[in-house]
Symmetry: C2
Subunit: 137 residues, 2 copies
Amino acid sequence: MTAETQGLKEVGLKITLPRVKILNILAAESVRHVSAEDIYKILLEKNEDIGLATVYRVLTQFENAGLVSRHHFEGGHSVFELSPEHHHDHIVCIKCGHVEEFADPDIEARQKDIAKRLGFELTDHDLNLYGFCADCR
Amino acid sequence: MTAETQGLKEVGLKITLPRVKILNILAAESVRHVSAEDIYKILLEKNEDIGLATVYRVLTQFENAGLVSRHHFEGGHSVFELSPEHHHDHIVCIKCGHVEEFADPDIEARQKDIAKRLGFELTDHDLNLYGFCADCR
DNA sequence: CTAGTTGCAAATCATTTGCACTTGC
DNA sequence: GCAAGTGCAAATGATTTGCAACTAG
């Protein structure tokens, strides 16, 4: 049993072809931060017979299971990535869509302070920076 | 001429009934952070004959003109608010939807550093914290 | 076997657009 | 008066759902 199928079993999902295929795509080094549509296109290119609806269903199941994270970027497009072991935020190029990750302990710490000060019990957060990347500016 | 109509004129938009009505709603103390649908409902309650399409068009124009800011919160819903004189971010209660604003100079500064380090020309950013507010925890 | 899963097409939701009609200046 | 603005209905794009067929355990 591979690491992927192991992960599926752990979250109580049957090990099916579509799920494994999608998990493999998410795990591919080259394609961090993909949209559902992206995944669907990649599957088509590989001549896999998997419907777009299934892609969405599987991604949603993975998200609920905590296997993947969903991010809503500006311009109304969502991307998915395998849940990182270590939290990070994103900076997105508004021209070419290129995404870089970053993590900043100071920012994280300040966020906790702020939530505390305002009486919130923090469960999650979303920080996205937008601009032109080195190639597009 | 009121402050609102003044604002419209400054950004080169004709002073029309729908625009003034929508601006008034956005300016109302009680309704910071409204969705397009919210505004449409408020207009209906006031028996104003303004279409949802117009609400979207007007909000988009306002956004382009810099009069209002659009925020994409989790769960795929967008909210609008009058552009604040001073930038701030948001913390949102995932149970009751209550929104508080905050600003943190340190975080802002770190963001600029990060963008610079990654070679981005920063144009915008979006920071949202999610959790349970004091009343819902 | 049989509950969970899938593919497909149709449905839904938020938002946008085409177009004939109206209004602000 | 006329360009800009609007209402409505139809179009769009992303995502969800109903349902009969299929498959993993």
